[in-house]
Symmetry: C2
Subunit: 378 residues, 2 copies
């Protein structure tokens, strides 16, 4: 009877699902999209009444290169096959009569700030660590008190495979997002958990905890939580470094109290992209000796040498193990990153200036994490 009972549950459930989809989602025609073939990728999309549907993918260089999809009038399904782009993680839209839509048949989506985009992940050597590993760590959405900012705030904390049972203590990477992002960015667009899981499983990186805070001091958490925001006057010198102060005074003590971590500078790394690269520079400059691994990404410094040199001398005197700057040749911060490279050389700080093709993109930030995580805590 249990079997019969269970079968009846299944029938009911199936009935429920189709019913729900019919009601909430009428006229959605389920088609396979995207379909990754040997040499092509096929996109499909049902919009019987649309006049023009175009495909725009992040592998294209501009809107003008978006592609017209062809409609099969007997089914109303638009489709197009494009040459398979190079191995990478891309996002794409369908442009339906001029407005951009995600792919309703692709469950893999990313949120970039307030925008949702469909994801195309082309398998290959570059992206092999972007897929799920066999041994996976956990990701916790953690609320902590920030006396410095004066609110309860949320961060994401990754603990490596085996953390619960190993009993051992771990080093910590503080990984910071950029402008427009939040505490969710590195674990979704950045594939940080998959990259760390794979590198640790392959013994290419040492097991580490990764802390991903929210770098917008006015926000308690990502806007998806609908929590009212505080206005922070960043021009006010007292609040200019509010987030960086809270990182060192609130977040690090919370992590070192609540997780099994090795609580010393040689087991603390800090990295961030764009605005988070700025936070990385501010944190290492304001709190020299706190982080032995300093890795600003897609960020640099201005032309004023005096203050920069004073700061870097402070970092040099406090000591560090790795200073690693990642940037793309086509990044609009290329010049300021070169300023940073020159300032580090001028001040006699041993460092790596890791230059890639491309610009201010998640493609590069994933590559940088997949590269520098192998160098940490060794």
């Amino acid at each position: 009877m249990r079997k019969k009972l269970l079968l009846s549950f299944i029938c009911l459930s199936v009935a429920f699902v189709s019913f729900g989809q019919e009601l909430a989602n009428f006229r959605r025609v389920a088609v396979t999209s995207p379909e990754i073939g040997e040499t092509t990728v096929t996109f499909r999309f049902s919009a019987p009444n649309a006049k023009l549907v175009r495909l725009y993918g992040s592998w294209m260089t501009s809107y003008d290169s978006s592609i017209n999809m062809m409609k099969n009038d007997s089914t109303g399904v638009w489709s197009v096959s494009v040459a398979k782009p190079a191995v990478e993680l891309y996002t794409y839209n369908f442009i339906v009569d001029g407005f951009p839509s995600t792919d309703p048949n692709n469950v893999i989506m990313q949120r970039d700030g307030t925008r949702y985009l469909s994801v195309l992940l082309i398998p290959g050597e570059l992206t092999e660590n972007y897929f799920e590993a066999n041994q996976r760590g956990n990701l916790e959405k953690v609320w902590y008190d920030s006396p410095t900012i004066g609110m309860s705030r949320r961060m994401f904390v990754y603990t490596p495979y085996g953390y619960n049972t190993s009993g051992q203590k771990y080093p910590v990477l503080y990984l910071l997002h950029g402008g427009g992002g939040d505490e969710d960015a590195w674990s979704t667009m950045g594939r940080a958990c998959q990259i760390l899981d794979n590198l640790i499983e392959k013994k290419l990186a040492v097991p580490m905890i990764c802390v991903m805070p929210n770098g917008n001091p006015g926000q308690a958490a990502a806007r998806t939580l609908m929590i009212p925001e505080k206005t922070i006057d960043r021009n006010d010198p007292n609040s200019a470094n509010l987030y960086v102060n809270s990182l060192v005074k609130d977040i690090i003590p919370y992590i070192e109290k609540n997780y099994r971590v090795i609580a010393d500078p040689d087991h603390r790394a800090i990295s961030g992209l764009s605005m988070g690269g700025g936070h990385t520079l501010s944190a290492s400059n304001l709190y020299p000796g706190t982080f032995s691994y300093i890795l600003p990404l897609s960020m640099g410094v201005g032309a004023n040498q005096t203050d920069i040199d004073k700061n870097l001398q402070g970092v040099k005197n406090a000591g560090y193990k790795l200073y690693w700057v990642g940037v793309g040749r086509e990044d609009f911060v290329w010049q300021s990153a070169q300023n940073l490279d020159a300032a580090l050389t001028r001040n006699g700080l041993e460092h790596t200036f890791f230059v890639t093709d491309g610009g201010h993109t998640w493609s590069n930030w994933r590559i940088y994490l997949n590269t520098f995580a192998r160098l940490l805590f060794k």
Copy 2:
């Protein structure tokens, strides 16, 4: 100089954001949508070339009641103001020339299986516990080994506010999703963390851990992770109860080993909706005495009394503290839920038959959790 430096980061970040949005999201016109007023809700949507845009919301009873939006031809923005629906959490689509799209200006989205829907949350007494509380627990995405199913699987574990520092042990609610759902369903569509946070902060519920597993035995995790699935023949008697067995043999031991829980039947509750209500019945029938709190939602039993009575006598003899059945009058399982109510009465099991308006909906499942969580572990 730090101030100047930080300001330059901000300028760069802003540049980056606009740049990124321009490239990835051209022609998206940012408008305010939805805008919740005193008596109306206004939806806005830019689609200059669309011929017909309709609004479909889950508060409407059928597709035919979807509403035509009006286009302002000078701006290409479509908009409509509707009478504010009753206080509740709703989902909605824009139907653009016949195809359903989410609202590109609403960051609040839900995934129901493979579908994404925009969310409209009307504030009021019914929904006050669906918003973020002041004191919030953490949510962890946990990987555990399931020898019973033969794979590493993911579940979500909610720990209440103060768990990290209290040092105390907690009771556990095992909360199961329905057909088409996964481990993500209760914490998103079900607002489970917000409901528990609010009830615990208001001292209406005792602090508890809430475990939300994935009830599809062929899946390691939600499909958003792109992990290949196993085919499970549910007609095979050996696999018919595979998930329920893994819940009792793999999940409960993992939770009781890795979290500070009170590991006895009086501090274990099990509830689930639809298919998860079936799992709740199977788990309590197959493992009598394991759960002192048994709460099947929107589920029932067939007409065959002999086996049902045998199972319920087993539950009765093993003992329990609360047997609570929730269902809506318009639910397509209404008859089978009435069968369950009758069977419980016939067999002399004290129980609550909690009947609401409405049908097989998340609206009801949120109401049931918001109701029964106050009764647990007291």
